[in-house]
Symmetry: C2
Subunit: 377 residues, 2 copies
């Protein structure tokens, strides 16, 4: 009787109520019945994004929505600043290159966080910059970017600030309008507690103005088509109807808890994970830890690739290893979405067993105890 627990940075656990909603009979999308459902999700997503701007929905993974924010804002030859401190920041660079955008990367050591002054300097050095592409939580390293500071800098210029909040949305605080974020990218399979398959994008007036001059080719990911359809309570192309049912159910849960409480819960769980990691003598990988992902350095002498494998195959707890050059060097917890204190203690119990099995002795209950102490604190 193995019970499976997913504590990876997406997909995450989906509550049974949400799964049940997704299994309701599929209705036709071009009906008043579906339009009412879709319009409800679009309006309530604005509260999750903390914005008055329209939030559009794509049937795609989050990367599709990232791509939309390149092809709808820019033209070939335009300049964009990309903050690249991990796999997903680098994806901004790859997307710009794919469309002939001149990319000015701010390259960080993995685990480091951008200094807002770097962005300010890059904007001064590249006065025609059209957009700055940042990441709320860099999923590959667990680093949280200082979005409020970036918003203050970028909003003084003609450039727009685009934030990949795919993993971080509804886990790390994000206030799109208050912080001056023009475009926020979201995905369904993270703290929104949904299966993968939906991606989101909020689009400020400043971004809509820039959109009007964009010459990159596009069709499926066209914001113009999506915004026009949204005004009619619809999507430009067939929406993922059943995932939209699921979104209604997850928004019910998230908004009943309230965004402040949702962020506070994620902060509480991440703090406990961090305390536990330190208590057993391990080190955090991120120099600016997020609520979303807790990235931990693999201790010397331990085969790092085996940690997620034993956690999953022996103990039923799915966490993530390192990606690319970080493979085997870090492992990553994400107490993300539908998670509480006992998901954290379960994960830490499994980690204690796993590390001991791999020859790194942990006094039984040491990690779990530190987490409980953090919860009591």
């Amino acid at each position: 009787m193995k019970k499976n627990l997913v504590l990876a940075p997406g997909p995450t656990q989906v509550p049974p109520e949400v799964l049940a909603a997704s299994a309701k009979p599929t209705i036709h999308h071009r009906t008043p019945q579906f339009e009412a459902i879709f319009a409800d999700t679009a309006e309530r997503l604005q509260r999750v994004f903390q914005t008055q701007s329209p939030v559009i929905t794509f049937a795609s993974s989050g990367t599709g929505s990232m791509e939309s924010s390149v092809v709808n804002l820019l033209s070939p030859g335009d300049t964009a600043i990309t903050i690249e401190g991990g796999k997903f920041g680098e994806r901004w660079g790859q997307l710009c290159e794919a469309y002939g955008v001149k990319r000015v990367p701010i390259t960080l050591e993995y685990g480091d966080v951008v200094d807002p002054a770097q962005v300010e300097e890059a904007l001064k050095a590249n006065p025609g910059t059209k957009a700055v592409y940042a990441t709320l939580c860099e999923t590959s390293t667990g680093v949280l970017s200082p979005i409020p500071a970036l918003g203050k800098i970028v909003s003084k210029t003609d450039a727009v600030l685009v934030v990949d909040a795919i993993s971080g949305l509804a886990a790390d605080e994000l206030r799109a309008d208050e912080w001056g974020v023009d475009v926020v990218i979201g995905g369904s399979q993270k703290a929104l507690m949904l299966p993968p398959g939906l991606a989101f994008c909020s689009i400020s007036e400043k971004a809509q103005a820039l959109m009007a001059s964009s010459k990159c080719p596009k069709y499926y990911f066209s914001w113009e088509k999506a915004l026009k359809a949204l005004a009619d309570k619809s999507t430009a192309f067939t929406p993922a109807v059943n995932l939209t049912y699921a979104l209604q159910a997850s928004l019910d849960m998230i908004l009943a808890e309230g965004m402040e409480s949702v962020w506070a819960r994620h902060a509480r769980l991440a703090s406990a994970l961090q305390a536990a990691i330190k208590a057993i003598g391990l080190a955090m990988f991120s120099k600016a830890p997020s609520n979303t992902v807790t990235a931990v350095k693999v201790p010397d002498g331990v085969d790092g690739g085996k940690i997620p494998k034993i956690m999953r195959d022996t103990h039923g707890v799915t966490i993530a290893g390192g990606q690319g050059s970080m493979k085997g060097k870090i492992f990553r917890f994400a107490a993300l979405g539908w998670c509480n204190e006992f998901d954290v203690t379960t994960a830490l119990s499994a980690l204690e067993l796993t590390l001991t099995e791999l020859g790194f002795q942990v006094a039984p209950g040491k990690a779990v105890g530190a987490a409980i102490a953090a919860f009591e604190g």
Copy 2:
């Protein structure tokens, strides 16, 4: 106690076993567990597409996969022939234009079917043509294209034949390899009996060779990334995990019935619909009726826009009206996917009630009786 029946050309009815499969707990996609599921669907989709070529899967609507077949095969300035006899044929033209491809349209009256000689002539007149974009069933008109004849013509040239089979796949006969179709585009929410959110694409060796020279920009819809990931039993970007579970369940049902039987069942239901339509004095809109969509001319004196509305809101049967310039002039049935004889008789019962309510008298049981006679025939 209204029972809802969806007989529109997508989304279609999803069997409860498929909905239940979609509601299983979401697992992480970068695991051997999910890779086994994904590889199973990719392999079994080849049997649905009747191809030995790889079939890739996108988290998107069908249009995204259509777009993929433009951006991965062509370069700006290339020439492509598009068969445009309705909204979806015209979409091929729009996609080509969006990416700077020189489009040579074969424009048909709505309801008409392409003459293969037109394609042969267009290929002769445009010797550098890279691709011919066709549609298996033109959903907006119900017209079935003569794909075997097109395959014979195109396969003699350097061009590839791309077929939008989104609505028609697993309803109208399609044998990709035998017929010389290089690329087949599919979508989940039609005869595959799934909710919307997955799109498919089979890619022949000839198409893969053309792909290597394509210079259109792309990222999310990159075939190169998708094929590379498929070789590792995976997708380039986060797959729609729960829809993949559902796909397994629907493939179980479809392949247990067998493709020949699936096509024959759709033919049987479409023939009965056609017989019923004629029996009550209505006329088919399509000059080459498909199994997928049965498009019917609205009789004189009847407010055509009200037919789908009364069918749906009074009787719970969702069919489709006309799109664009055909609005109010036609209505469309699709006994598509999870349908049997009694879905047809239910739809026709509702149609009899609806037409009579709109002042077009139908002798009670006339349409239904004609369908039953066809089934007995």
